[in-house]
Symmetry: C2
Amino acid sequence: MSAEFASYRQLRQRTREISFLTSSSAALTWDVETYMPPKALAFRAEQLAYLGSAAHRKFTAKKVGALLTECEQQGFAAESDEAANVREWRRHYDRATKVPPRLVEKMERIRTHAREAWKAAREQSQFRLFKPHLQKVVDLTRQMADCWGYQESPYDALVEGYETGVTASQLRPLFATLRPALGAVLGVARERSAGLAEDFLHGHYPVAAQQAFNRKVAEAIGFDFAAGRVDTTTHPFCQTLGPGDCRLTTRYDERNFVQSLYGVLHETGHGMYEQGLVPEQYGTPLGSAVSLGIHESQSRLWENQVGRSPAFWEHWHPVACEHFPELKRFSPAQISAGVNRVAPSFVRVEADQVTYDLHILLRFEIEVQLIEGRLKVADVPAFWNEEFEKMFGLKVTRDADGCLQDIHWSIGLLGYFPTYTLGNLNAAQLMRRAGQENNSLEAELARGEYDNLRQWLRGKIHRAGSRHRPQELMQLATLEPTQSTYHLEYLRKKFAGA
Amino acid sequence: MSAEFASYRQLRQRTREISFLTSSSAALTWDVETYMPPKALAFRAEQLAYLGSAAHRKFTAKKVGALLTECEQQGFAAESDEAANVREWRRHYDRATKVPPRLVEKMERIRTHAREAWKAAREQSQFRLFKPHLQKVVDLTRQMADCWGYQESPYDALVEGYETGVTASQLRPLFATLRPALGAVLGVARERSAGLAEDFLHGHYPVAAQQAFNRKVAEAIGFDFAAGRVDTTTHPFCQTLGPGDCRLTTRYDERNFVQSLYGVLHETGHGMYEQGLVPEQYGTPLGSAVSLGIHESQSRLWENQVGRSPAFWEHWHPVACEHFPELKRFSPAQISAGVNRVAPSFVRVEADQVTYDLHILLRFEIEVQLIEGRLKVADVPAFWNEEFEKMFGLKVTRDADGCLQDIHWSIGLLGYFPTYTLGNLNAAQLMRRAGQENNSLEAELARGEYDNLRQWLRGKIHRAGSRHRPQELMQLATLEPTQSTYHLEYLRKKFAGA
């Protein structure tokens, strides 16, 4: 056996062992959120720290660097599985080893304190409590960006961690197009939303009935319950524990079935991506989702493009009425319109489809300026409130409803927000392409037939894992990189009748 | 800092890390039984094998032996925590390292096959399908016993793994006393059991009502639900995942609430032992249960001594009626008598309190003779059936109801069965001593007050962990080693009115 294969095999074996550890962490984390009794927390935290650092040590060992170099020197055929894995392992290895351990530890400590400070600051709506911590996060993040390296903007080094290959200068024109265009749609959409039926959002929907209905929908669109499940948590998420093991969660409001239904549709979209990865490749880049922006495209596609369409309610109305008899008083069109109300509001996570990306572009602008040193931390609230009023026509009176609303910055997640909008754009672009390749798609969806759409996504997106970089994947799937065009077309048609 | 402390500290650190791994395995195993989707199994099995062998390697490393020797040479004060931990670590280390790895691996393989063969053999009630596998298990177990070493009987080396310090020559007189004495009680008890009310065992008891009632009972006797929980599985168990994290399970039969109630009482007994260990000592012998026979004494004490007493039903009858209205037709005395029916039957796990230990002593006799080479594997069914008829007056017509009923031998658990009976004897002996030290105990239990009993067990048994060996612990708690006297007194009084 040649040396290149031996090196690759050793890497494969080592990453397999790492996957046993990270999968254990995933299971223990899932348990923390779902079933763990409260007194177990202290030990669990120590245990997770141990497993995390054991996996990290195994991956950042000098030996891994040497094995990667051997693989690179020998070379694998450009299109081979091995070449793709080696390329991605190298990228992760460099990112993980370029930052000195003392900086990583410092960041860990600062995050822990910043998160606590953010909680207190949000509760009291006092930005000054968070300010010194945000300053430290920004400073240290900038130092890490310098370690990782970048060509144009230190922000690029941050985005790279979530959406490899995407830069600020690519994102800027997308957001520049979105801002006025979304503003225009919003003007029409908010007027049309006045007077829509919404009584059904304040009824009585027992949890058991919601669970039964949600499960029927999730099964119909293609989530495999033999390889996953849905549990209840305060903050919904999708967590893969291993091949054939994808755990979704949601939360229930007995007055409003809509929250859990769209929560499940969203997480099911994430879950079907995870279930569509090649199980034999689990633990390698080829068996892993490629980016957050692609992941989010899958959740948004099923939640919004499919789930918030009139066709969805035409099909599911009779089934929904079996589970929720009070829905009989409403037509499918009324329900569909009601779950698509548009109204500017302060909070991103409650935003409708039209205003959502406005929330993101505000954060993007602030992040870029912060990390490039063009905006002072002290000026964040004023900047936020001014821009927010321009876009939404609403005056922020409490920072808790403004720049303190999201956890992201407190835990060092700068560069993350744009992936939500990339998800929206990718979803619309993929949906359009799927329709071009299958003329019957609309008719199928109206009949509640989701197999062709899911299979198309599986073939174009899921099974590729991280074989291609995100924008290459979009190019292959839709014949062009991510555009704002299709998302805007979709929103205009749906919300402004254009 | 002296060398002895440095060595001890290193051992402590290493065993802490091992506990992170074993606790991960425990959590993943719990998940397999409770919530894991079926397609996750293949990866989970590999993952568990990896974690198990990683923990094993860490503990059996030569370095551990060297550190232990250093600790032993320097010496710790006889009564110190350190001395107890070092003594037990040494015992475990020697047991784990005396058997050559190739023998361990061989046993693993044989167990896997033997378990599958046993399943098939039991389904078809064909001993011959299991015979060659049982032969291999016995041969290999004997080789392992020889590696471990023993003074009188190879059986002693096996029991040592579950009940350290206990030997066949100690067990033999216990069983010799029990056999005729239990036979005598059985004669009276089975007559008295004729005509007892049992309609309530065939009613309709919704799972949710059973769960609510069981939880009230478990909370009342002292299970801490902030440090544990109860889930549903086919085979009930108690599994500790970490300090402050004890998971019980039970199963429900909607026709019969008794099964889940006594299942929960039993597991709660195990669980309160685990919850009573010193959390700071978790992962060391001092923070671990001392033996199966002591563990089982805790489950049997709460299930039988407390839960199957007339006083229990006097107190809980009104609460039970709130959850199960149909119980109003029965008096507390009727229910108490009904859950204490005595009748010889073929299956150990369904046995009443009088016949239970007869099932065990039959298995004990067979195990000892097998491992000492005095009984041939081929002769097991004939021996079983003959002895069974002598004791129970029932003719075994299917080996599935006879020597094929238990999983234990197929997975190499020889020497395990006697701990069930030790549990019964210990439970009666502890209960008697608790009553001697607290004259109001009976009155307290009749009022549903369980705190003093639980605190007494906590102080005498739980908090000791593995500081003392099991029989020393019984001596300290009850002033004598395990006797058959008190269990027999209890059974005679309860079932034969003596």
